[in-house]
Symmetry: C2
Subunit: 584 residues, 2 copies
């Protein structure tokens, strides 16, 4: 027994007790005749005191030799503190130390173990085990634990069964790239790590499990954009005998439960929006609705003049920045430059300032008179003191650009409050999306998503218009979950594979087991998966998922702490029947 209490436990009610504590030396203050040591563990900080009058010289010497992050064990008496620290739960007491044992010494850490550290990202990742000692990182990991436990509890209470699905499965070229695992026992063959347990959870529904969930690692070998990880965790769920409405109810319940238990916030029924509405009003299928600034389409009200840019545009659309009329010309130019950056890609931006005197000042005064501008402002529902920002061009592009501007402006105005939560459902996603690169339609969700009733016939004539039984749960501008009602009959699934460019042989080789399963009494079913890393980050009021992962990888997919990946022995390669291809 290394300790009788933790460093976060002792209070004034313990005064007079003999205790044993163990932990890390957070800091020492040495006044010569008196030494204070802040002793830290996961649970808190307790002040130790050594003084000339009450402590032996040998012990004082020992205490003086303590360095930061030394691991020590002390025995002593809980005494009342002279100057209490109201900010600390243990601030009313201190330990008058009688025995001190150094359990382990420490080199000087490469960065300070403080909430605000002097360590940069790289050094903190290399010494992640020291980074985890810092309160913000440890609290994030404990927060994640809490969310995971609540998720499991809620779903289990709702009758969901946690079933573990395999990690060594089969590679499927559809979708993102798989990580593969050479099989030693089956020479020349490979397992793949799952991008999600999609087919297995569907088979569990065919198997009558009725309600399934799992918190499960998934893997994608993608070129990593900022804040993506090659391995990530999903809350993976599936239900049988359900329609979309049943699923939305259950997972709205889960999300509401989490917001209540974890954040202490009660949220009303989540609004719902179709994909088309979301794109139209926010230019984005995961709108942040914590604030307004909805899109206003302005083609009609702008087209009666000779401004060719607007007249030729598929879409003329604006947002109103509340109070933006006060922006200086320089500030507006900065906004224009911002939308013209290659990452956003707009060719320009038209603005209309709604002056306090009721007049309007615009960058296209040459084309539109005060009456025109008044009409535009009216349509945009702008008020005196606002600024209207208008983009135009090809519909999909201009929506993405204006959405980026909307988010940027909201961030600058402080409208994206991390402690405010605005969930919503986006429903009726398109079944297919056009892929410019391959010049083909791809499944927007995945090939197992069912089209809405009666829409299958549209596939051959208007594929882009086919809506799917697919839905996303959006929170504060992030997709935190998504799912669909699945196809559950062989012929529809075959038709879908055919449409997506699979030959019957390919479909059989890759998903034959699933289509076979559909012939043996597959029930209607559907499900949803949450991205746990993102969900936890957002509930934690942050945006970076890496801060909620104990041992994350960097953008090159490397773990810089353990230095992985790494080369392996020739003998290992040989056993696996593979060899390296030397790069030219």
């Amino acid at each position: 027994m290394y300790r009788s209490h933790t460093c976060g436990e002792l209070r004034e009610s313990h005064i007079g007790q003999e205790v044993i504590l163990a932990g890390w030396v957070q800091k020492t203050r040495d006044k010569g005749f008196m030494i204070w040591v802040d002793l830290r563990d996961r649970y808190g900080i307790t002040q130790l005191i050594f003084d000339e009058e009450r402590t032996s010289t040998a012990l004082i010497k020992k205490a003086q030799a303590l360095g930061r992050e030394f691991v020590i064990q002390v025995k002593g008496k809980v005494i009342e503190r002279e100057s209490k620290n109201e900010n600390l739960f243990t601030g009313g007491i201190e330990i008058l130390v009688k025995e001190l044992e150094i359990l382990n010494s420490s080199l000087t850490p490469p960065f300070t173990i403080e909430d605000q550290t002097d360590g940069g990202e790289d050094v903190r990742m290399k010494y992640r085990y020291l980074d985890i000692r810092r309160n913000p990182v440890r609290n994030n990991l404990m927060f994640r634990h809490k969310v995971s436990m609540e998720v499991r509890k809620y779903l289990s209470d709702q009758g969901f069964i946690d079933v573990e699905t395999p990690y060594l499965i089969k590679s499927t070229p559809e979708g993102a790239r798989d990580f593969v695992v050479p099989s030693r026992m089956n020479a020349g063959q490979f397992y793949a790590l799952p991008q999600s347990p999609q087919t297995f959870k569907q088979l569990l529904m065919v198997g009558g499990m009725d309600k399934y969930f799992q918190l499960v690692k998934c893997f994608r070998d993608e070129d990593l954009r900022a804040d993506r990880q090659p391995e990530f965790t999903q809350i993976d769920c599936e239900m049988a005998f359900v329609e979309q409405e049943d699923i939305l109810q259950v997972f709205e319940g889960l999300t509401r439960h989490l917001l209540k238990e974890v954040n202490g916030i009660e949220v009303k029924k989540f609004p719902r929006m179709t994909y088309d509405e979301a794109m139209c009003m926010y230019g984005n299928d995961k709108p942040d609705i914590r604030f307004g600034m909805k899109f206003k389409e302005l083609n009609e009200v702008t087209k009666h003049r000779e401004f060719k840019v607007f007249n030729d545009a598929e879409l003329v659309v604006g947002i109103v920045i509340p109070g933006g009329a006060s922006y200086t010309r320089k500030e507006i130019d900065a906004l224009i430059d911002w939308v013209k950056r290659p990452q956003v890609g707009a060719l320009g931006m038209v603005y209309i300032r709604c002056n306090d005197d009721g007049t309007h000042k615009s960058s296209v005064d040459k084309f539109y008179d005060q009456d025109d501008l008044f009409q535009i402002a009216n349509t945009a529902e702008a008020k005196t003191g606002d600024l209207i920002c208008i983009l135009s061009g090809e519909k999909n592009k201009v929506r993405a650009q204006l959405s980026a501007l909307r988010m940027e402006v909201a961030t600058r105005l402080g409208l994206r409050k991390p402690d405010e939560f605005a969930p919503l459902w986006v429903v009726d996603f398109p079944l297919l999306e056009w892929d410019e690169e391959t010049q083909r339609y791809h499944a927007m969700h995945h090939p197992f998503t069912s089209p809405k009733p009666g829409q299958l016939e549209l596939l051959d004539t208007n594929p882009g218009d086919v809506k799917a039984n697919a839905y996303d749960l959006v929170l504060n501008g992030n997709e935190i979950g998504g799912g669909s009602i699945r196809i559950h009959d062989r012929s529809t699934q075959e038709k879908m594979f055919d449409y997506l460019g699979f030959t019957p042989e390919q479909a059989k080789a890759q998903f034959g087991f699933l289509m076979d399963a559909f012939q043996y009494g597959a029930p209607p079913h559907g499900g949803l998966a949450f991205g746990l890393d993102r969900l936890v980050a957002i509930l934690g009021g942050q945006e970076t998922i890496r801060d909620f992962i104990a041992f994350p990888k960097n953008n090159a997919g490397r773990d810089v702490m353990i230095d992985a990946p790494a080369t392996i022995d020739e003998a290992q390669l040989k056993e696996l029947n593979i060899k390296l291809v030397s790069k030219p």
Copy 2:
């Protein structure tokens, strides 16, 4: 909404209600004028009734066309059953069907979906999604869910934090073979899948997480013996500032909690036994103590005669089979044949029958007279009516052989009762074990296990005698958990690596991050891991882990349902910078 109730829910209190049910057709009984259908889902079975008087002819026809495993939805009224079925919770009622919709048809399943199925192992694995519909398999998976939930709840309540550790880590040649994952972004390099999160959980302790747990998949590329899986699940735990006693307390608590919550059994304090005692008394470091038949060493009492086999043997040891004197000569010969099988490998077996008249009959009467045999029986604590079975030879071998015999006899006598639970701790394991193949000592547990205090010095002189701070939790003859107090200082860890044959360069390349971490204030720590698959099987009163895994692999490491592993595209190989070596 496909259903208003499940098939396990309706009772006599629902009589008169209009309900909607959905599920699978378990069976139909068609008497022409009356048809009964057993409708099944995860929750139970409800009887549907169609009859001439109350059901339309069209509906009767539709019902007559129903095949086994069709998925249907029915609307109807709950009515009282004429002949009630006491064995069914829903046995007091039936549903008078008014509407019937076939949601999906089914081919005839390749085996019957019954508790006792006619399907062999291979076909059930290929159609695992149908096998899961069977009560025994589904109940096993639900049982596993319950155990997992209870484990998480208990540990979380004890202050353990569930931290997810990475799956894409670094290969280490020590121990079993790793599965590896070629990295596309880091050409020529590989990740490895973890055999356990050992180093990460130790780093979490260095990082001050204090108490960690995780239910986590682990991977070992081993030649699969019966009932081993290439991927398996661990309850992985670690604690800081603990001694062995603290860990035994916590996990004895967890195990007791599970036995109580899951099996409804209260177990007293677990007995403890040293490794040496276990080997001496049971010839086995995971003794089944549900029954006696302890080993009796007989060298002393047998050596005064001219029986060279015993006199030359390092160990002469016997067990007493209660009531075994009644075995016929043929039965005894069968036992002798059993121990002589290559899997056991004994050269022979000596028996002594303790006859009812007080005489003894032995296979070595030539060497030992009645007095001798009485002395031997006395030493073996055999009673009238018992049979003593004696093996002799090299100590380790003969212990293993007699242990096998002991278990076999107990099984035959029905002493290994699946509903009886006898946990115990085996402690003080040797630090090292001799490996005949490499002619070297290996870490018995793993290279991070600490020697008992003061024993490090023995390493150079009597390495086989060094005891470790290592312990196993044994339940009914199975190791269900094992762990150790770890080394937490760099110099001891270096010494250990050196002893195990690592060059300093190898140690640094593979575990440098851990040894670095030990320099920055690593606390004393230790932990334990349970094999969840095995634990669940034993708690479930069964021995085969495969029956508790949703989608297990066969002995060749294949998933026969999805047919994995499989070949992958040339393009995929190329991206990964590897190519196949064609076998000669």
